[in-house]
């Protein structure tokens, strides 16, 4: 891996200037490296982060046929990584015009990394640097503790897809109201309404009394207010303390819960494990936004490499070369889903919508087709709108909010179905539906979505950890359950239980044998399967798994 040469770097700096003029915002510094195939072999298991910690599984061919992307949310072959400065990777024999295109694409990604709020938690530090110090810390631990470090890494990685990413984000964005104390919040929001259940007039009276005492003395007023409360409701003080304690204990995610409450990890001699778990958890959180913004991120980068390239005066004469490569990147496949093409079209579509003022209540409630078509408020706000979208949306909200019938129709999109043609012995792909709702559902179903598994604190008694899988229509991969639970049991230091849903095995209906001379009954739509679900409880105790139907 070596830095790109000065000539190419100069071209890139020129790209940055043009991108800034177009409105993109990103940090000045960036690093570009030439990579060879050998470099990629080393980089890809480390998700393109050169300084990521070492782990033996990286050296082994890993079987991923079951849920490749559910297991590995990081993109192993990304061209630019979200570090400070951002680092991007290049083939060593790209011609200049191609590098210009790639640079613009890379700048699009960097802009997205540094402005999209789903990446907020990665803004304040350089992951590359942290990863390096983590790697050294793990190496040092390994020299002291040997293989046990790898066991802890393994078991932690087993549940690192359950990290509370959204919890983390909501903590960052929930701005505490600085003027009002927690005690006041509790008194008015919870105590008066839920516990004391006072009527409205009494509530307002209390509110007025509070305002009066604050106005009287802004520093000591609150204390004065509560002194009377304590007299009238002597239990209030202890209730508030209890509330505070409960709030503090609220688990963010399984890993954090284990770190705080595991007896095994609490022991003096096992303190080092906490550090290992912390490192794995942080790394997992770092990669979370990437997979949750794949369509937007690639769409945004493609939108900008196309827009900026076409306006770049330096590369005149290579339009045809560009067109060929660009079509390969952004053409909508006849069958299949290309995130570059889909995201880019959605951004163009939204820009036009906003430019014409179609993202408005007025337009959305217009029923007349002719008027809808000709609607143009000439707002001039198209760019502003898509910049706003790139800041505030993730794939889920992006698709959910903006894939509508107009978009699907304009781009001739459809859901492709697959059925068996018995005569020709081929799978046929056919146009199944052109409805926006179906298309959106199909997109939603193909997006990354880890299961929601939480600790049930009420049922977690003594030392047995009780996990609940909130069922969303799909069972867990059964053969992965034992080893995952084994790992949790180790980290927890006691029995672990998991409540989930599974399909009850039903014998297959006997098929009619084919009889010579009589044609097979043609069934176009397969009969809906009747599924019986049952709640099951897995228990891992002393490294032995048992399963009970509930």
């Amino acid at each position: 891996m070596e830095l790109i040469d000065q000539h190419t770097k100069t071209i890139m700096e020129g790209c940055k200037l043009r991108a800034r003029d177009a409105g993109l915002r990103f940090e000045d510094e960036s690093l570009e490296y030439i990579v060879t195939n050998r470099d990629l072999i080393e980089l890809s298991p480390k998700v393109m982060i050169p300084t990521l910690y070492d782990y033996w599984v990286h050296d082994v061919e890993v079987l991923k046929e079951k849920g490749k992307y559910e297991l590995y949310p990081g993109n192993p072959y990304e061209t630019v990584i979200n570090t400070r400065p951002a680092i991007s990777f290049y083939n060593d024999n790209n011609p200049d015009w191609l590098n210009v295109m790639i640079f613009y694409h890379v700048i699009g990604h960097i802009d997205f990394f540094q402005n999209n709020l789903y990446f907020r938690h990665t803004w304040d530090y350089d992951f590359n640097g942290e990863a390096l110090s983590d790697k050294r810390a793990l190496a040092k631990l390994r020299s002291e503790r040997g293989r046990w470090v790898d066991y802890v890494i393994e078991f932690t990685r087993g549940i690192d897809n359950l990290v509370g990413y959204h919890g983390l984000l909501s903590k960052i964005f929930s701005a505490p109201d600085s003027g009002i104390s927690e005690k006041v919040d509790f008194y008015f929001d919870i105590y008066l309404q839920d516990i004391a259940k006072v009527n409205i007039s009494k509530y307002i009276k209390e509110l007025e009394r509070y305002n009066a005492s604050i106005n009287e003395d802004s520093v000591m007023g609150e204390q004065g207010f509560f002194s009377l409360v304590d007299q009238r409701h002597p239990e209030f003080g202890s209730l508030f303390k209890k509330h505070q304690a409960a709030k503090k204990q609220k688990p963010r995610d399984l890993l954090e819960f284990i770190m705080e409450n595991s007896k095994m990890l609490g022991r003096e001699e096992n303190q080092w494990m906490l550090m290992v778990i912390q490192i794995i958890r942080k790394t997992a959180l770092f990669f979370q936004p990437q997979i949750r913004t794949k369509i937007m991120n690639e769409g945004w980068a493609s939108y900008w490499h196309e827009t900026l390239y076409m306006n770049d005066d330096r590369i005149k004469g290579h339009e045809v070369d560009f067109a060929r490569v660009n079509a390969g990147v952004t053409a909508m496949p006849r069958v299949g889903l290309n995130p570059y093409a889909l995201g880019m079209r959605l951004f163009y579509f939204l820009e036009e919508m906003a430019e014409k003022g179609k993202v408005s209540w007025e337009f959305q409630h217009m029923a007349d087709t002719g008027r809808r078509k000709d609607f143009d408020a000439k707002t001039g706000k198209g760019k502003d709108f898509i910049f706003n979208v790139r800041e505030n949306f993730s794939d889920f909200t992006f698709i959910q909010s903006f894939v509508d019938q107009d978009f699907v129709t304009t781009n001739k999109l459809f859901v492709a179905g697959k059925r068996l043609n018995q005569q020709k012995m081929v799978w046929e792909y056919y146009v199944k539906s052109r409805s926006a709702d179906d298309y959106r559902d199909m997109l939603m179903a193909s997006m990354y979505h880890p299961p929601n598994i939480e600790v049930d604190e009420e049922k977690t008694k003594e030392n047995a950890l009780y996990l609940i899988h909130r069922f969303e229509g799909k069972p867990l991969v059964a053969e992965y359950i034992p080893n995952t639970m084994l790992g949790i049991e180790y980290l927890w230091g006691g029995p672990v239980q998991l409540e989930t849903m599974e399909v009850v095995a039903t014998p297959q209906a006997p098929r009619m044998p084919t009889m010579p001379g009589i044609p097979m009954p043609q069934t176009d739509a397969p009969e809906p399967r009747e599924l019986k679900w049952q709640r099951v409880l897995y228990t891992m105790h002393d490294r032995k798994l048992s399963r009970n139907a509930l």
Partner: protein, 464 residues
């Protein structure tokens, strides 16, 4: 076909069947599946549409290096895996001592292509288990739809993908080079070495002596003066020099003038075809696989995996001098030419074990294999047999014992069935062959939850 099966069934019924057996047989009889090759699914699928061929990819399979810079997904080289395997396995053994299940799997096939084309690579693999939603689960039988774009009415067919498509088999995304592949033979040999050394599979006690060398191949190795097919230039020149020395034509050895050489017709040395003795391969292994309808799922996977391991081990033991024959059977047996077909043919039809045994006997007899080779027979089944008492299977097996060095039967029991109570196991035990010839016949019963270490354990039982 079906009428023939019906007839078999009726004969069986006449001779008396329990209702349970009858139900089992009927289930297989009324099954209209065929022995297809598998569908290539997921990211490997290539769909031929009206706009050309498209490799189906999902959203997350696209990445910048591929689409922008045309850089293939790099693959770690196989060699580096093998170099680290000792270390990995040592680690894995330590895992077991520490009380955790082993995690390294060997003998997993990564690239099952048609023999000669895509090759089979055997590498150490592992899997990182997590709680994830089952991606293959669908509420209804029809799969979740794909994305698509372009013209076409609803219902219109826009592309197709062959159900049998062995040539397209391969792993990974588009633009992936074909480099770095290894032939089954070489990697299986390595696997055999690993199995022997790391998993402590025994070495064969007596591999038999080299038998008579009856086969010949023809090669251009013999020399002939004056005439022949190919002029051997070096030998000819030597002759010419010799002749000229005798003639006194080379007075000064430091100053030779070749233009003055005299060449006799007999100086020309040619190479001609000759008969060469060839070393007979020392072992012939028959792999028999039950591919009846009841073998669906895990049972087949287990049997085939175990056969790969046994094959590798024998290959190592006999230093590659192994010939292997692959036989599939349902109610009838059929020999297939390559491992790919053996490995991939789908299950369907009924079960008659003796058909395979008789086929082995027939092959051995007609090719006179018993005289020259050590013969091994490994049979994998789920233990169902329409011939519930082994009336035909046992005599065929007895005949086989007469010449075979080892017959190993693996029964992969279905979950839910009662233990050690399959038809094949019952009649094998009843026949007393297992006790009578403990060195020749071995039985290993496994169940559907069997993992790789247990399979290897099973091999020890079959071959030790």
């Amino acid at each position: 076909m079906h009428s023939k099966l019906k007839k078999t069934f009726n004969t069986l019924k006449d001779s008396g069947l329990t209702p349970e057996q009858e139900e089992k047989i009927l289930l297989e009889l009324n099954d209209d599946r065929t022995h297809d090759m598998p569908v290539i699914g997921g990211g490997m699928a290539v769909v031929t549409t009206d706009e050309g061929e498209i490799r189906l990819l999902n959203i997350y399979e696209y990445h910048d290096l591929m689409v922008l810079q045309a850089m293939a997904q790099p693959k770690g080289s196989y060699v580096s895996h093998i170099r680290s395997i000792d270390e990995l396995l040592e680690k894995d053994r330590q895992r077991e001592k520490d009380g955790f299940p082993r995690k390294i799997r060997v003998g997993k096939m990564i690239k099952p292509g048609k023999a000669g084309k895509g090759k089979v690579v055997v590498v150490p693999t592992t899997v990182e288990e997590k709680f994830i939603h089952d991606p293959n689960f669908a509420e209804q039988e029809e799969e979740q739809g794909q994305g698509g774009s372009g013209d076409g009415e609803e219902g219109e067919v826009i592309g197709e993908q062959p159900v049998r498509d062995p040539d397209q088999a391969g792993e990974g995304g588009p633009g992936q080079g074909e480099g770095g592949q290894h032939e089954m033979e070489s990697s299986a040999y390595d696997l055999g070495k690993i199995l022997t050394e790391q998993f402590e599979l025994p070495n064969l006690q007596d591999k038999g002596k080299k038998r008579s060398l009856t086969r010949y191949t023809y090669d251009m190795t013999d020399r002939n003066r004056g005439s022949g097919q190919v002029l051997d230039k070096k030998a000819t020149l030597r002759e010419i020099v010799e002749t000229n020395i005798h003639l006194g034509n080379i007075p000064d050895l430091d100053d030779i003038d070749p233009s003055g050489f005299i060449i006799s017709p007999r100086d020309r040395i040619y190479r001609i075809l000759s008969k060469e003795k060839d070393f007979e391969s020392q072992a012939v292994v028959f792999f028999l696989r039950d591919y009846s309808g009841s073998m669906a799922g895990k049972a087949t996977e287990l049997v085939v995996t175990q056969h790969v391991l046994i094959y590798s081990w024998l290959l190592y033991q006999y230093a590659n001098q192994v010939e292997s024959r692959f036989i599939l059977h349902d109610t009838e047996a059929k020999e297939v030419e390559d491992f790919y077909t053996y490995y991939n043919s789908r299950v369907a039809g009924g079960t008659q074990v003796y058909s395979a045994y008789e086929m082995v006997n027939r092959i051995v007899k007609t090719e006179n294999l018993a005289a020259d080779c050590n013969i091994y027979v490994f049979h994998g089944t789920d233990g169902d047999d329409w011939d519930t008492e082994g009336k035909k299977a046992i005599p065929a097996l007895k005949e086989m014992i007469g010449y075979a060095s080892r017959v190993g039967v693996t029964i992969a029991e279905h979950a839910g069935s009662s233990k050690n109570n399959t038809e094949v196991e019952r009649y094998l035990k009843k026949s007393g062959l297992l006790e009578e010839f403990p060195k020749l016949v071995r039985l290993d019963t496994i169940n559907e939850s069997t993992d790789e270490p247990r399979l290897i354990e099973g091999i020890k039982r079959l071959i030790s």
